[in-house]
Symmetry: D2
C-alpha cells in the first residue's frame, strides 16, 4: 500500500476534520501518499481528487464540518457508478481507502470492497453514537455538549416562567443523545426510540414533579421516538393538563456543527491513526473503534447490523435524580 | 422615597438578573430598603414580596433568566386587580417601583402609575431591542451572540453539504436580531418585518450567490416576517428551485437564555443605577435608556408607541458583503 | 444508616455540584435524610451543618465550584480535631459520610474512618484525574475542554504572528491534562512529570516542525514538569534559538471553574448514586469509580497510593500527528 | 483608484478577518481589484502580495487571528525600507491601501502616506480600544467577553474557597478592558493606568467587602497599572493582610484570540466598507471609526496622539454595585 485515499460521507459530525488530519498525517508518517476525495462517493465517481500534504490539514483540528465535504450519491448505489469509481482509484494508483462516516457510509464501503476486493477501513463519524462495536463515535460527545448547553439556556427561561418544555434532539433510531443529554441537563424525563413511550408514566413523572413543588420541567425527546416527536407529545400533554404552560423547541441542525470537544478530537486522532495502521496490517472491511479505551477492529457488517443498546442503568439514574 | 420594590415581567431576557442586582445595590447604596416582587404583576397582586439585601443578589450577575421569576397576569388588566396590588404596596410602605421588561410591562406600569399616582421607573429588558428611545435593551446583545454562534454551527453543516438554510430567529415586530445577526453571521440575505419580503429579490440573491460559485447559503428570517416564517418561505423556494438542498431550523427559546454578555451586564448595571437615581430625582412613568452612551429618560408612552427603526445602512452593508 | 452527610474538600472541580445533587437526591430516593457539611472537614469540626432537601440541589447541576464550599483544615490533622468532628456527627445522628474530593480528602477520610469505625465513601472530584482505580475523575473532562478552548484562542495569535508558545497547565504530579490537552489542541509537544524532559528531544521537535515549514508551534507544559515550568523552559529555548519568537501563558485558575461538561455531569450523577448505594450495601473506606463504564469500589488506600499511569500510546499518537 | 491593497499589522485582534472580508468584498462590489499583503509592512517590503477574490474571504468571518498574518518590521522604520515598499506597490499598480491595526500601524501609515503621497485609510483593530475618535475598536468587545468568561470561571473557585483574586488583564496604557470587565464580572475593584492606584482605597474596598460578609473578592488589574501588575499588588496586600487567601491569575494571550462576537463582526463589516468608501471619496491618512453609531473619519495623527478617556461615570457604577 503506497497511496491511500480518504473521504467523508453521510451526515457531517464535529471531529471529522480532526479525523482527516489524523489519517493524513499518520499515513505520511508511515511514508505513504494521501489523496483527499471531495464529496464522498460522489467525488469518487466524479474524480474529485486532491493530493494531501501535512500542511493541508493544519489548523483544522478545531473546525466543525468537513473540509472534504459530504454528499449523497445515487450513482454509487449502481454497479456502473461503483465501476467508474473503481477505475478512478486505479488510474490514480490508489491502493486503499479510509471512509469516515456512519452506517450508510459503511454499507456502501462493504459492497465496494467485496466487488473489487479493495482494502477499506472505516472511522465511525456520526453524532448519533449508533454504531455497534465502538463505545463512542466521533462527533457524539460534541453533540451531547451542544444539547446540554442549549438545554441550560432553555432552563433559564423555563424556570423564570415555570414552564414545561419538550425539547427534541437528534437520534432517529438511537436514544443516546436524548438519554445522556437528559441526565446531564437535569431533565425530568426522556423519551427514546428504544422504549415504547408510556404516556401514563410520563404523566406520572410530570405530576410527581409538580406536586413536589417543582415549578418547571424539561423532557428530552429523541426525534425517532415512537410517540411522534416533541410537538405531538406536547399537544397530548396540553390537552390532558391544560394547567401546564407547555412549550416545544426542536434543536435541529445546530447539533451537527461546532468546534469538537477535547474527547472528540482525541478519539478522532486515535481512530485516524488506527485506521492507517489497520490498512498497513492488511485489514480490510473493518471499522476501527474504541472499546474500554482500546482500539478494536469491527467488521463493517457487524458495526452496521448489530444493535448497540443504551445503558439501562442510566435510565435508573435519571429517575433517581429527577425526584 | 424610603422603600423601593423591583419586579421583572414579560418574556425573560439575559441580563435581567444583573439589572435586579444593580437596582438592589444602588438603592441600598443610597440608604433605601428594597423589596423583590416575585412573578411580576401577578406577585404584586398575590403579595409575593421579599426584602432584598446586598447578599441576596450576589453571584447572579452571570445568570440568565430572572431570580424574581416572570408571569402573565390577567388580573392586573382589571381595575380590581390593580387596586389590590396598590393596597399591597401601601401595606408594606413601598413608595416606588422599578419594573424590568418590555412594552407589555411598561403599558401596565403606565396605567398603574396614572391610576394611583405611583412613581414607577422602567428598565428596558427584552431581547428584541424594540423599545423606542434607547439604543439597546438588556438582553439584546446576548441573544444576538446566541444567534450568531448557532448560525456558525449550522454553517459548518451547510458548507459540508452545500445546502441552503433558512434560519428563523425571534422578533415578532422587529428585525434587529435578524438583520444584525445576518451581518454578523455572514448570511446571504435576511427577511425582516420592517420590509415587505420580495420573493423575486430573494431569488435573485440566492441565484447570484450560486452562480458566483457560492456553494452554501444562509438566510435569516425574523419570526414576524410577513412572508410567513422560515418554513413557508423555504417551501416556496423549494418549489421554485428543486435543485437546491433546502433546510430549515427554528432557533426557538435558546435565544432567551444563557449567561449575559459583557455588554448586557454593563448596560444592566448602568440602567439599574439610573433607575434608582431617576426615582430619587422625582422622575416617574419613564423608562431609563441609553442613547449615544448617555443615560436618557423616556416617557413610557413614547418608549412603547414610537417606532424604532432599523438602521437601513446596515441592509446595504449586508448586500455588499454577501457578494 | 438513616442520615447521611456529604461534604466537598480540597481543590474544587467542575461537577462537584452535580455530585452533591446526585448524592442528595439518591439518598432521599432511598428514604434517607441528608445533611450538607459546609467547608469540608473544617465545617465538620465547626458544625457547619444543614439539612438538604431535594429542592436545595435544584438548578445547580450546571454550576462550577461547590455550593458546600471547600477549605483546608489543620485541626482535622490532629486527633483532637477529628474527635470533635466525630462528636458533632454523633450529636446529629449522622450514620455515614460521603466525601467528594481528591487524594488529600481521601487520606483524611481513611484515618477518620479507621479511628471511629465510621462508614465513609468517596467520590473522586479533581481536575487532575490522578486517582488510581477510576478511569475518570469528576472535573477532568471540563478542565480538559477549558484548556483546549484556551489553546484554540492562543493558536489564533500564534499563527498570526508565527510564534512559539509554551502554555502551562495544571497537573503537579500527573500529565493527563497536558498530554490529552496537547493531542486535542494539536500541539507540537508536551512536557509532563511522568517523563524526564529531554531538552534535546524538545529541540528536535521544534526544529523539525520549523524546517517542515510549520510557522507556529505550541508546547503544553504540566506545572509539575521536572524541567521547571513553562517560563524556565521557554527561557532555555530562547537562549538556544534566538530566532524564535517565544511567548508563555500560564492558564492558572480558569482551569478549575466553569460549567461542567456533559461527561462530567453524567459521571457525577452516576458516582453520586453509586456512593449512596455503596453505603447502603455496607461498604466503607472506598472510593466509587468508573472503569470500563462500570461502577467499581476502590479502597481509599489504593486510590491514593497506587500510581495511575498515562496511556503511553497517546504519546505516540501525539508525535505522529504533529509532523 | 483601481487596485487596492489591504494588510493587518501589530497585535492581532478578533474581527480582523471580518474586516479583511469586508474590505475585500466591498472593493470588489465597487468594481476594484484587491491585493492582500501578508505579514504587514514586512510583506510590503518583501512583496508578499496575493490577489484576493470574493471566495478567498469566505468562511473567515468567524475566525480569530488574521489570515493575512502580522509581523513587526524594523526595515519599514527606515527610509530605504519604505522606498522599497513603495516601489513594490507601484510595480503592481496598487493605487491605495487599507491598513488594519492600532497606533503603531497608523504611525507607520502616516509617515508612508506623507513621503509618497499615497492614499491610505486605516481600520481600528486592537483589543485595547485605545484609539481616539472611535467609540469602539475591532476586537475590543470580544476581548472583553473573553475576560468576563474567564473571571466567571475563577469566581467559581474564589467563592468555593473564599479567596481574594487579583486578575491581570491586557491594557498597557488603557484601562477600558479592566474597568468594563470589572463591572461586567461583578468585581470588587479595578486598578487601571488612568488613575494612580491608591493602596489605601483598595484596602478599604477589600476590608469593607469582607466586613460586610463578602467571602470572596475579585480585583481586576490592567497590565499597565502604575502599581506594578497583579503579582506585585497581591504581595503587598498579602503582607498587609495575612488573613486573606490571595491568588493571582494573569490571563495573557487568550485575550487576543477567539471567534469574534456579533458586535465585533458587525463593526468590522461596517468599518471595512467605510474604508473602501473613504478611499473612493478621495480620503487619505484617516482612520474610519464609529461615533454615536455613525461612521466618522479621523486623521491618523489625531487617532494616535489624542487621549481617549475612560468613562468616569463607570467607576462610580462599579463602586455602587460592589457593595
Amino acid at each position: 500500500i503506497k497511496k491511500i485515499a480518504v473521504l467523508t460521507s453521510g451526515g457531517d459530525a464535529p471531529g471529522m476534520n480532526a479525523a482527516i488530519r489524523a489519517v493524513t498525517r499518520s499515513a505520511i508518517y508511515f511514508g505513504r501518499e494521501v489523496v483527499g476525495i471531495y464529496y464522498g462517493y460522489k467525488g469518487m465517481i466524479n474524480k474529485n481528487f486532491q493530493i494531501m500534504k501535512s500542511g493541508d490539514v493544519s489548523n483544522i483540528i478545531q473546525s466543525g464540518g468537513t473540509i472534504l465535504k459530504s454528499a449523497r450519491s445515487k450513482e454509487f448505489m449502481t454497479k456502473e457508478g461503483r465501476e467508474k469509481a473503481y477505475q478512478n482509484l486505479k488510474e490514480e494508483n490508489i491502493d486503499a481507502l479510509v471512509v469516515i462516516g456512519g452506517d450508510g457510509t459503511f454499507t456502501g464501503a462493504r459492497i465496494f470492497a467485496q466487488e473489487f476486493n479493495f482494502p477499506i477501513v472505516g472511522v465511525p463519524g456520526t453524532i448519533d453514537n449508533d454504531l455497534f462495536g465502538t463505545d463512542f463515535t466521533v462527533g457524539y460527545d460534541t453533540a451531547l455538549n451542544t444539547i446540554v448547553q442549549a438545554v441550560d439556556k432553555i432552563r433559564d427561561t423555563a424556570t423564570a416562567h415555570e414552564r414545561l418544555f419538550f425539547i427534541e434532539v437528534m437520534g432517529r433510531d438511537a436514544g443516546f443523545l436524548a438519554l445522556n443529554g437528559g441526565i446531564a441537563a437535569g431533565s425530568e424525563a426522556v423519551l427514546i426510540p428504544e422504549f415504547e413511550t408510556d404516556m401514563g408514566t410520563l404523566e406520572t413523572y410530570i405530576e410527581t414533579g409538580y406536586r413536589k413543588n417543582k415549578k418547571s420541567s424539561i423532557v428530552l425527546v429523541a426525534e425517532g421516538d415512537k410517540a411522534g416527536g416533541a410537538f405531538s407529545i406536547a399537544s397530548k400533554i396540553e390537552r390532558e393538563y391544560p394547567q401546564y404552560d407547555v412549550r416545544v423547541t426542536v434543536l435541529g441542525h445546530v447539533q451537527r456543527g461546532g468546534s469538537p470537544t477535547a474527547s472528540d478530537r482525541i478519539l478522532a486522532g486515535r481512530l485516524g491513526v488506527a485506521a492507517i495502521e489497520a490498512l498497513l496490517d492488511d485489514q480490510k472491511s473493518v471499522m476501527v473503534g474504541i472499546e474500554f479505551d482500546e482500539i478494536v477492529h469491527v467488521p463493517f457488517n457487524k458495526a452496521i447490523k448489530n444493535e448497540k443498546s443504551v445503558n439501562q442503568h442510566l435510565l435508573r439514574v435519571l429517575r433517581m435524580l429527577s425526584i
